[in-house]
């Protein structure tokens, strides 16, 4: 598949995702996760405006695109809002074959450490599959799971746990 074809396909998916993305925050989302994502959304829609200008806006808000995807307890399912964010990453990544990303999966601290490595990897793979579906070349993506070893928030309790169940999309060049 040629590069331009991938780009077209990605753009199509992206447009679809943008149209169907819910504007109401997911009730299950936590405060921290919600604010991070709504911030990204605001800048996206604000700079983008109506459907046809979204490609032009892409570069200008690239730096503000959320790079952390949060997950529910015991789940590796990407939330509806985040499918949109991942789609925008897919556009950026597939747009430039020199880009590579490392998807870092994480789990909260409960349970066994090595099993949590598995849970973190499942989340990283869920994001990877979406990127692949949207045309990103497999060679541009690597995954690593840190399980519970690198928490974003310290402490016990759901507020910390919900910030730790995540995938960080790390642009490595």
């Amino acid at each position: 598949m040629s590069h331009s074809k991938i780009l077209l396909l990605t753009l199509g998916l992206f447009a679809m995702a943008a149209c169907t993305a819910p504007t109401v925050p997911d009730p299950e989302m936590t405060e921290a996760a919600g604010s991070a994502e709504s911030g990204a959304d605001t800048s996206a829609y604000g700079s983008g405006g109506a459907g046809g200008t979204e490609l032009a806006a892409e570069d200008s808000y690239a730096g503000e695109l959320a790079t952390t995807i949060y997950f529910d307890f015991d789940s590796s399912e990407v939330r509806a809002d985040d499918i949109d964010i991942i789609a925008r990453h897919a556009v950026q990544i597939s747009d430039d074959m020199r880009i590579s990303v490392r998807l870092e999966g994480h789990a909260d601290e409960r349970g066994s450490r090595e099993y949590n490595i598995g849970l973190g990897e499942r989340r990283a793979q869920a994001v990877r599959r979406l990127l692949l579906l949207q045309g990103v070349a497999a060679g541009q993506i690597s995954t690593v799971s840190f399980g519970e070893e690198r928490p974003a928030a310290f402490g016990s309790g759901e507020s910390a746990y919900s910030q730790n169940r995540r995938v960080e999309i790390n642009y490595t060049n």
Partner: protein, 431 residues
């Protein structure tokens, strides 16, 4: 470096003040302790006193076992150093049921003999006697070995006082994180840093000869399994496949590791890695998470965690492959299996009414017995005598280490490491 802890006794009487400096704190126990006495050792040498108070180390070991109540030195009516000097009446009147006397003799600049004898004051006879050679550097170890022999004579159970514990400690957050792989004596003394990194270190595993440690390190934001010689510090990269390299555990002959690989598509499965040939054999293929493989002591099975039925449960598979057999059925979450060295029991991390706790499965009847009482306990590991387990628990947000006897009667806390201490693994017996 080490925290010197005061003694806290919740369930026991305060009659053991003789042991002032210990890193193991007794936090619970129901067993009645047998009164014993370890008389300060005699000293024949150049300096004013012996290089080490051997009696104090032995007393502390016996006390920490949870089974003995060593007599305080100040209550002793006499301090014999040989059998001939013992007045047994002075000991039976104190209710002492076993008496240890001994001496340290210097024979050269750094050559010593450590002699000790164990007596039954009631029957007025020697039960056991032994003489060790020692240097200043090996004297603490010799004292632990003496305690091992005394313990075994009195209980019939092999002592673990001369064994070691490896664990991981984590300090700082974010870019200031510092992870350490540490080895210490079983009592928390003689801590040595095996490996230090800004990136996470996890899953340490002892080789059967206790000379090597396998572990997972995330140096460069990739997981890899290393095997490191403790004496030289030299290490080899045993596995650095794309994706997950995790959960190493040695085969009983020390030549292979059971490991978890995830591959590019992140399907965690169990593999056996031959350390000499680097050849890998895949044991499981299920698309669920299969991880935390642990070799059975007879070498025939790999016990592992799998969520193929939904939540994580323990399964075992022949090292020749085949269909895995489910081992745990009680509860919704059982993970991190570790066999007792006698092959009779299986330690697991189990979800017990909302709390992650240490459980032991009796492999004869598959019954699960919850041993620990914390909210987030983890990483159980058996002592080489199969009688004690060490695990990590949480105290004010930090990981600390505890031990529990396999019958659940004696709990102790091990004050070791700085920061968040986790993943303790007990060494095998020294060969």
């Amino acid at each position: 470096m080490l925290k010197r802890a005061a003694l806290f006794l919740f369930c026991l009487t305060l009659s053991h003040a003789a042991i002032a400096e210990v890193n193991l704190i007794v936090i619970g126990g129901e067993l009645k302790r047998t009164p014993v006495a370890v008389v300060p050792f005699g000293w024949e040498g150049q300096a004013a006193q012996a290089p080490l108070d051997i009696a104090k180390v032995i007393s502390a070991d016996l006390y920490r076992s949870g089974r003995f109540a060593p007599q305080a030195e100040r209550d002793m009516l006499q301090k014999p150093t040989t059998g001939a000097e013992i007045d047994f009446g002075d000991w039976t009147i104190l209710g002492v049921e076993a008496l240890v006397v001994g001496k340290v003799i210097q024979v050269d600049a750094n050559v010593y003999k450590v002699q000790f004898r164990l007596f039954d004051p009631i029957r007025q006879e020697q039960i056991y006697g032994y003489e060790f050679n020692a240097s200043r550097g090996t004297m603490r170890r010799v004292a632990h070995r003496a305690a091992d022999r005394i313990f075994e004579e009195l209980t019939g159970i092999k002592g673990v006082f001369a064994t070691k514990v490896a664990f991981v400690s984590a300090q700082g957050q974010g870019d200031n994180s510092l992870y350490r792989l540490v080895v210490a004596d079983y009592d928390g003394e003689n801590e040595a840093i095996v490996m230090e990194s800004r990136d996470p270190i996890m899953s340490p595993a002892w080789s059967p000869d206790s000379r090597r440690l396998a572990y997972v390190s995330f140096e460069g934001n990739k997981s890899a399994i290393y095997v490191q010689q403790l004496r030289t510090g030299n290490r080899i990269k045993a596995s650095s496949e794309p994706g997950i390299n995790g959960a190493p555990s040695f085969s009983p002959d020390g030549r292979k590791l059971v490991i978890t690989l995830g591959g590019v598509d992140g399907n965690l499965d169990i593999y056996i890695l031959d350390l000499a040939t680097k050849r890998k054999k895949r044991l499981t293929t299920h698309r669920a998470i299969d991880t935390e493989g642990s070799w059975s002591p007879d070498g025939r099975y790999i016990y592992f965690t799998s969520d193929r039925a939904g939540g994580p449960q323990i399964y075992r598979i022949s090292t020749n492959g085949g269909t895995p057999e489910r081992i745990t059925f009680e509860g919704s979450y059982n993970a991190r299996p570790r066999l007792s060295p006698d092959g009779k029991k299986l330690a697991v991390l189990t979800l017990d009414r909302g709390n992650y706790r240490i459980g032991v499965v009796d492999l004869r009847n598959k019954q699960l017995f919850v041993l620990s009482t914390g909210q987030q306990d983890e990483s159980p590991s058996f002592a080489p005598n199969s009688e004690i387990l060490i695990y990590a628990t949480r105290q004010s947000g930090n990981g600390v280490l505890e031990t529990v006897s396999a019958d659940g009667l004696i709990y102790q806390r091990l004050e070791a490491g700085d920061g968040d201490v986790r993943e303790p693994v007990w060494s095998p017996f020294e060969r």
